[in-house]
């Protein structure tokens, strides 16, 4: 098993005829993801990816014709909140928003509405998720994965790839890897993903990749202590040496005043019995020490 996506996922790609959307839809399809539809307003009736995927004008049309249950959004920032709402309204239950640079305040009402309707949003500004060997939704390179039993949740993109590659090199496979994104207002946090991993019988251990800024890692540590005390868990925090007051790329990654420092996060994680690696390359060994066997 896995979380969020698997071989039964029926994926709708919003923005499939765009440059980014088209390229990554091709990559997802090549990985074996079950892409059932694309949506680009005005291009309904066409096909994408060399005839492999029908394109619809609206999400409702796509869902009605194909039974899509999951969507991934590649539309530009100004149109992305609306794309999320359209997807939600069409009955999609799991939405991945890859788009970056969506104004933060635009996301407040969208996130609240997703929650009110009991759906799930991952992102925005996230790399998506991969369930190795089954499905890949988003932009994570498929080649770095290995099927297995360790779940991974991260606030970063390329840093995630680095960690996944290190795990795969050490023959530690992944159940699902998911990037929740670096924006200040986003749909899913660490705890949302930990809840799913905790309920997944095939996830035996978890890797959490955090970074400076905010208090999400501390909250995740507290949740882990209370709810999955026996699950082996290894964490990594980026930005140990970042200077306070300077934003490091992600809108979320800033140390302000006494809040959001790597020290506070590491201490909270270690206090909850989570091993914290000083380098991504230490993660596989730490997982093994925590009881995860390579396969």
């Amino acid at each position: 098993m896995s979380i969020l996506i698997d071989k039964h996922t029926r994926l709708l790609v919003q923005g499939i005829t765009g440059r980014e959307g088209g390229f990554h839809a091709g990559q997802m399809l090549a990985y074996g993801t079950n892409i059932v539809a694309g949506v680009t307003p005005g291009k309904g009736g066409q096909t994408a990816l060399d005839g492999a995927v029908p394109v619809f004008d609206t999400c409702a049309g796509a869902v009605g014709a194909t039974g899509a249950d999951t969507s991934v959004i590649f539309v530009p920032a100004f149109a992305a909140p609306d794309a999320i709402m359209e997807s939600l309204d069409a009955g999609i239950r799991t939405i991945f928003a890859i788009t970056e640079h969506i104004p933060a305040l635009d996301m407040i009402a969208v996130v609240a509405e997703v929650e009110a309707r009991g759906a799930r949003l991952v992102g925005p500004n996230c790399p998506g998720a991969t369930t190795p060997g089954e499905a890949k939704v988003g932009i994570i390179p498929g080649s770095i994965h290995r099927p297995g039993r360790v779940g991974l949740v991260s606030r970063s993109g390329t840093l995630t790839y680095e960690v996944v590659q290190a795990m795969t090199d050490a023959r530690i496979g992944q159940s699902t890897c998911v990037g929740i994104g670096g924006d200040p207002i986003n749909g899913s946090n660490f705890i949302d993903m930990l809840e799913l991993f905790a309920a997944d019988p095939d996830t035996e251990g978890v890797v959490l990749i955090g970074e400076i800024g905010g208090g999400a890692e501390e909250a995740a540590a507290e949740w882990k202590r209370a709810n999955m005390p026996d699950t082996p868990m290894v964490a990594f925090i980026a930005g140990r040496t970042a200077p306070p007051g300077r934003r490091m790329g992600h809108a979320g990654a800033i140390i302000s005043g006494s809040g959001g420092t790597a020290e506070a996060k590491i201490s909270a994680l270690e206090g909850a019995g989570i091993r914290v690696a000083a380098s991504p390359t230490q993660i596989p060994q730490m997982l093994i020490e925590a009881g995860i066997a390579p396969d």
Binding site: A77, F78, H101, P103, A104, L105, D106, M107, I108, A109, V111, A112, E113, P127, I139, I140, P141, I144, S154, R155, S156, G157, T158, L159, T160, Y161, E162, Q165, G182, P184, I185, I209, E211, I212, G214, G215, A216, F236, A238, G239, R240, T241, A242, P243, R246, R247, M248, G249, H250, A251, G252, A253, S256, G257, S258, G259, A278, S279, P280, T281
Partner: protein, 394 residues
């Protein structure tokens, strides 16, 4: 991209445009201008004027950047002293001149983005003039917090609650207008932060004798850079004088760059990986010269521009390139490195690690590019080599 921090006078422009009670102010860049403005306020009945340095760093007052003046001569003299003053490395180029206020009481009020709760948070404290972050640590109960509704915004009952809890029952209507106004300004201007410190009860002589009103004496606004595209006027409010020229160049090129004090220039794709690379450099005994995220899908010309930025820092003794290709293609990065290499005037050893998409083509390109390009397989190896090269170049 980086958020736009507004100078006090720009923040006050946005707040007064929204109808909030901002006392009169003027901006001067010469002592003579300050004198003329002070004269006008003094002739208009002000007992004194305040002259305030316009810089984006905190602690202006302690640094001597805020002074009272009772005469035009005095105003000119203090403006002369403040203009050109160095406050935490920033040269003061402008001062704000405003009539002095008779302050009865100071409070703190701010609208911020609460990431944990995913709402706009209105924070107030009956104690003004304090550092809110210090107060949050020392006396968190002294901060009153109200979250705006995600669809309906800050509702009047919430504004009233804040007003009563701040002890502003005697100024209820004005306090409610200000609370609602801060949230409205935040939404209308796409701000991350709208902070009033202090919000003050000010005593003024009116036609019926002395009267007390609430006024926004100081203001700080930070704008969301993701929303700049829909506010055509905002980019002009960015104070380029206070930025490192390298930051300005980086922003124009679409790079995320922060200059640091070390000697190892870093070029990485992705913010998390860029921070991690810096952390590992430091852990290996080196000092990063910068944070630089070239972003996803960077083309060769952007890479070349990033390399020029790194080399513009004379303290850089070694360069570490760490690329995990996904959207970014290894060959594009390699081509950019070679292009930059062909134009650079100073020789700096470079360690290159490119993995992921098209890493094999990148390796071919770099093989013939020169002896001073060292390749590395793993991240740890790349970091160790860069630290060693910087050390031997020192």
């Amino acid at each position: 991209m980086s958020p736009v921090k507004l100078q006090e006078f720009h923040a006050k422009t946005l707040l007064s445009r929204a109808g909030l009670p901002v006392p009169p102010y003027a901006v001067a860049s010469t002592p003579q201008q300050a004198r003329a403005q002070a004269t006008a306020y003094l002739e208009d009945g002000a007992a004194a004027v305040v002259v305030k340095a316009q810089v984006l760093v905190g602690g202006r007052g302690k640094a001597g950047g805020v002074k009272l003046a009772r005469t035009a001569d005095e105003a000119e003299a203090v403006a002369d002293a403040i203009l050109g003053m160095d406050i935490k490395g920033i040269t003061v180029r402008r001062v704000l001149v405003a009539p002095g206020a008779e302050i009865v009481r100071e409070l703190y009020l701010a609208a911020v983005l609460d990431r944990g709760r995913q709402r706009i948070l209105l924070m107030g404290s009956a104690e003004g003039g304090v550092e809110i972050e210090t107060l949050a640590v020392e006396d968190p109960a002294a901060i009153i917090r109200v979250h705006a509704h995600p669809h309906l915004g800050l509702q009047p009952f919430q504004a009233r609650e804040m007003a009563f809890r701040l002890g502003l029952g005697d100024h209820l209507k004005q306090a409610v207008d200000i609370c609602s106004g801060l949230v409205r300004v935040m939404l209308e201007e796409d701000a991350d932060l709208v902070e009033i410190n202090p919000l003050a009860i000010v005593r003024e002589d009116g036609p019926d004798g002395p009267a007390e009103t609430l006024q926004l004496l100081d203001a700080k606004i930070t704008l969301d850079d993701s929303a700049l595209g829909r506010h055509p006027g905002h980019e002009q409010m960015r104070d380029l004088d206070e930025e490192d020229p390298a930051d300005i160049e980086a922003r124009a090129a679409g790079l995320s760059f922060i200059r640091l004090d070390g000697d190892i220039g870093c070029m990485v794709n992705g913010a998390g990986l860029a921070m991690t690379t810096m952390d590992l450099v430091k852990r290996a005994g080196g000092e990063p010269a910068n944070f630089l995220d070239i972003g996803g899908g960077a083309r060769s010309d952007k890479v070349a521009q990033a390399m020029r930025l790194i080399l513009s820092d004379p303290s850089v003794r070694a360069i570490l390139v760490n690329i995990f290709g996904g959207i970014a293609r290894g060959d594009e990065v390699a081509r950019g490195l070679v292009e930059a290499r062909s134009r650079q005037t100073r020789s700096v050893p470079m360690v290159v690690r490119i993995v992921g998409t098209n890493a094999d083509i990148a390796a071919e390109i770099l093989k013939d590019a020169g002896d001073d390009i060292v390749s590395a397989e793993s991240l740890d190896e790349a970091v160790a080599k860069a630290v060693e090269l910087a050390g031997s170049a020192a």
